[in-house]
Amino acid sequence: METLYSVFIDPFVQMFELPDFFLQVLWEGLVSGVLYSLIALGFVLIFKSSRIFNFAQGIMVVFAALSLVGLHSFLVPFVGNEFVAAAIAMPLTLGIMYALAMGVERMVLRPLVGQPDIILFMATIGITMFLIGFGEFVFGGENKVMITEALGIPTGSIEFEPFGGFLLLEEKDVFAVVMAIVLVVSLLVFLNKSAMGRAIRALGDDHTAALSVGISLSTIWVLVWFIAGVIALATGIVWGARAGVSFALEVIAYKALPVLMLGGLESVSGAIIGGIAIGLLEKIFEIYWGQPLFGGNTETWFAFIFALIVLLFRPQGLFGEKIIERV
């Protein structure tokens, strides 16, 4: 009886009694949610345009953040100013991500064109291993601090008093959400309005047809991997600002997996909505069910269980199309 009470009634009573705390939980969930969306979007873009599940997305986040921090600390003694160093390090890091995209296209994707998907998937595991080794070799394996202030990311906090209670928003979280929204919106506009975006969609829709209208595979692949790199950099900056820059950051990419299970590997809107939903739900579950019932730390597995349960009822994911096979 007591268990039933604590599962079905108590959490909702608490939400109702402490609405300001509930808002705080929602906010925290939203912040991780938008970041999951961002990472999932990186997966979706690459999968749509090349049918590759990019295992390296997580390490790209680490690599981008490491490059930025590494270049910055290298540049500071030369220019003598934190902010100037950051202003130079930023475009340089973008350049590195572009070079990475070119390298992957030239050395991995192009030679493997036409191979089975699983071969390409394994090739991305190879890229992951390479980036781990290369990153450690160049920048060292120790944890680093994200150059939050030099990048001009605000670090204060904003307080509200809703319902006579108390709500605290960290400014860097606000920054993360705003940046994620700007990135996602501009990506959507780019995909839907520009000629390049149309070419990416076309390639995702039908390879042969895309080739026949003169869309060049290599150009689009480089572009898509570069966009994934930019997304990785953005994620690396905001996540690094919250948790520091280390190779452990890689695991947040796996948080995108349940998002993809829910949203489908091919749906841009699925990635966005799925990411936010998972971020919100895992936070709410952790606070109101996880901590009292399981002793906490449910965030590591909740998303996967939730995705599996959804798949029981909707095998095509939340937004996937039902595939009807004609025989």
Binding site: F190, A195, R198, S212, V213, G214
Partner: protein, 272 residues
Amino acid sequence: MTVMDPTLEEVKRRAEEREVLLDLENVSLSFGGVKAITNISFNIKKGEIRAIIGPNGAGKTSMLNVINGFYQPQEGVITFNGEKRSSMKPHLAVSQGIARTFQNVALFKGMSTLDNIMAGRATRMKRNMFWQMLYWGPAQREEIEHRKKVEEIIDFLEIQHIRRTPVGTLPYGLQKRVELARALAMEPELLLLDEPMAGMNLEEKEDMSRFILDVNDQLGTTIALIEHDMGVVMDLSDRVVVLDYGRKIADGVPEEVQSNQEVIDAYLGLSH
């Protein structure tokens, strides 16, 4: 027919006079040990409608794939517009002015008719990636220019009413027409049509025939087409090349080909 049919000699003379657009010389293509095309030579002349016919498995589609760079022939020389071709990629073929449609419609099914046709102008977009990322200034002006051209093509093929419809939901005949529109958006010099009338009913076939003639006539596009409907082939084409088992067995104006004994045998399935 008109007042007076031109005589066979006159038709042949007219074909002779035209300039050669695409020339294939001793082209051979094989996949592993299987020979798809064996030592085929023929040409396509500027402004003509050239039909490639033959029984199933004769190598017609392989021939088109060689022409637009999907396949690399092992042997042979291909000359397009006076230029000898070394290695070929499909997107290069497009920028040289070769467009095509497919036997079983290859459209971007999730995209609207308009987007499909706009995608046909991919190689004509000159602005670099940076501008396009911003979708601003020159890139936007360029987009509008291309849009005008695309609207002309939409009018030309009478598909205004399905502009915004996702092509996956369109009936088959219209899909084929959208595919033709997309190929035309590339403003090709040479248009390759792989069975443009397959699976169509009589009315749709008549429409398609009319569009093909109009494209040839009004836009001056050279057309190479594969088709199984002999009536259509004989009516539309200026010259016909006949393939069988990867070899060329006949080449000439429709009247000649029709009366060629080898062609008749190939179609009636005489033992080889």
